[in-house]
């Protein structure tokens, strides 16, 4: 078999299957007529194709029917067939899966410690604060707030008492000792009640550090206004009683003088 035969050798099966142009088939036929090897090659291919052509299909061992329940139920059909609770559960489950998948994809991070919740999408969460440091800071803040409130109350009280004393001095210049004692007693009573209120308020403040300072100041201011109004009323009442006493004394003296004058006139007569 020479080079020419190698060229035609590839054409032999193609020619037998009608897979070459008629011109090339005729060329092959012409070559094969003068080449025994190519004729032999062609004969072998013909025998092979003959073998293949003799093959007959085997009978089937049985039918290959698909069973009636072979049909795949679609998700939509399955969803439509179940009851509402199952539908809700399935929808919830699906939503949870989607959420988890989304969180997983976004590298979600979550941390819950000491009632503090922290979460992040991707970036690293900052380190959790030290509990002991936080507690110490809260305690310090609490002490400072209490000290500030007590200081404020003390200064308010001092100023209040100064105001009271000046009011007393101003209104008691015309009073006799008994009236002054009455006023002093009233003042002491007011001071005692004020101290009690301050103590009560302080205790409340100590117990409730979260309460607002504004509310506290408003409460104190209201108490102070109320107490001042009470003191003014007491002073005015005292002044009215004093004036009435003075008038009665003056009338008694006038009457005694008139009686004395009558007795003197009667004695002279």
């Amino acid at each position: 078999m020479n080079d020419k035969c190698n060229h035609y050798k590839d054409l032999i099966p193609r020619a037998l299957l009608g897979d070459i142009e008629p011109g090339r088939a005729a060329e092959l036929e012409e070559h094969a007529a003068s080449c025994g090897q190519c004729r032999a090659e062609r004969e072998e291919y013909r025998e092979t194709l003959g073998q293949l052509a003799m093959v007959q299909d085997e009978p089937v061992p049985g039918h290959f029917f698909v069973p009636a329940d072979a049909r795949n139920i679609s998700w939509r059909e399955l969803f439509g067939a179940v009851s509402w609770p199952w539908k809700l559960a399935a929808a919830g489950g699906f939503a949870a899966l989607l959420l988890l998948a989304g969180l997983g994809l976004s590298q979600f991070q979550f941390r819950a410690a000491n009632g503090v919740y922290a979460f992040s999408f991707g970036s690293r969460l900052p380190a959790a604060s030290d509990d002991s440091k936080t507690e110490a800071a809260i305690q310090t803040l609490r002490i400072e707030m209490r000290r500030f409130i007590q200081e404020t109350i003390r200064s308010e009280r001092k100023q209040y008492m100064v105001t009271l004393r000046s009011e007393l001095d101003r209104s008691s210049s015309n009073l006799n000792p008994e009236q002054r004692r009455f006023l002093q007693a009233s003042l002491n009573d007011i001071e005692r009640r004020l101290n009690e209120r301050i103590a009560t308020t302080g205790a409340a403040i100590a117990g409730q550090t979260a309460s607002s300072l504004d509310t506290l100041y408003a409460t104190l201011q209201a108490q102070r206004t109320q107490d001042l109004a009470l003191i003014r009323k007491s002073i005015n009442d005292t002044a009215r009683v004093s004036e009435a006493n003075d008038r009665q004394t003056q009338e008694v003296l006038t009457t005694l003088l008139e009686v004395a004058d009558l007795q003197i006139k009667r004695g002279m007569n």
Binding site: P13, E47, Q51, L52, E58, V60, P61, F64, F65, R71
Partner: protein, 181 residues
């Protein structure tokens, strides 16, 4: 076809009745084992039934069905691990094939005794699964090259190349057996 696509198993089973012989014989020649072929054929029709909704009415049903069958057979062969290329120099394989008939028989006697289908089926073992598939579709399912290309989803040149390589291997095998006889 429309009824089959609506999930009507009776309608689909009429298609099974029409195509089962071709599909079973394709599987038999590809897999070389009747039990495997029967099991694979059943899987092919089940897969076809479940996928028939996606089949477009304007397409060729046989091409579509043979594509499923071809893929199923190739998958089965891959699972078996029989995807190695075969060679005529493969001594173990040659001994296996030659032992199918007693040596004292003449070539003509062997040919008379052996069924042609059996003879070819044994020779097909020499081919790679891809070559075997192309020969099967060309010579036993009588498809055109274009139809085969559509089934195996390969270019026409690849299909022809596989076919002529496979045919050459078979020719050499039959010639050698004839010489040995």
């Amino acid at each position: 076809m429309a009824a089959s696509q609506r999930g009507d198993t009776s309608a689909f089973n009429r298609l099974v009745l029409k195509w089962e012989k071709q599909v079973y014989n394709l599987a038999l020649r590809m897999l070389q084992d009747p039990d495997d072929a029967a099991e694979t054929t059943q899987e092919i029709f089940l897969r076809a039934f479940r996928a028939i909704r996606s089949f477009r009415q304007d397409a060729n049903f046989s091409t579509w069905l043979y594509r499923i069958a071809a893929n199923q057979c190739l998958t089965r062969l891959k699972k078996r691990g029989q995807h190695r290329p075969y060679s005529l120099d493969d001594d173990d394989l040659r001994v296996t094939i030659d032992q199918q008939a007693p040596r004292q028989e003449s070539y003509e006697q062997q040919f008379l005794r052996e069924d042609a289908g059996e003879r070819v089926r044994q020779a097909l073992v020499l081919l790679s699964p891809e070559q075997r598939l192309v020969l099967e579709l060309k010579f036993f399912q009588e498809m055109t090259f274009e139809e085969i290309a559509a089934v195996v989803q390969a270019p026409l040149s690849t299909v022809k190349s596989r076919l002529y390589e496979g045919l050459n291997i078979l020719k050499q095998h039959f010639a050698r057996r004839k010489r040995n006889a």
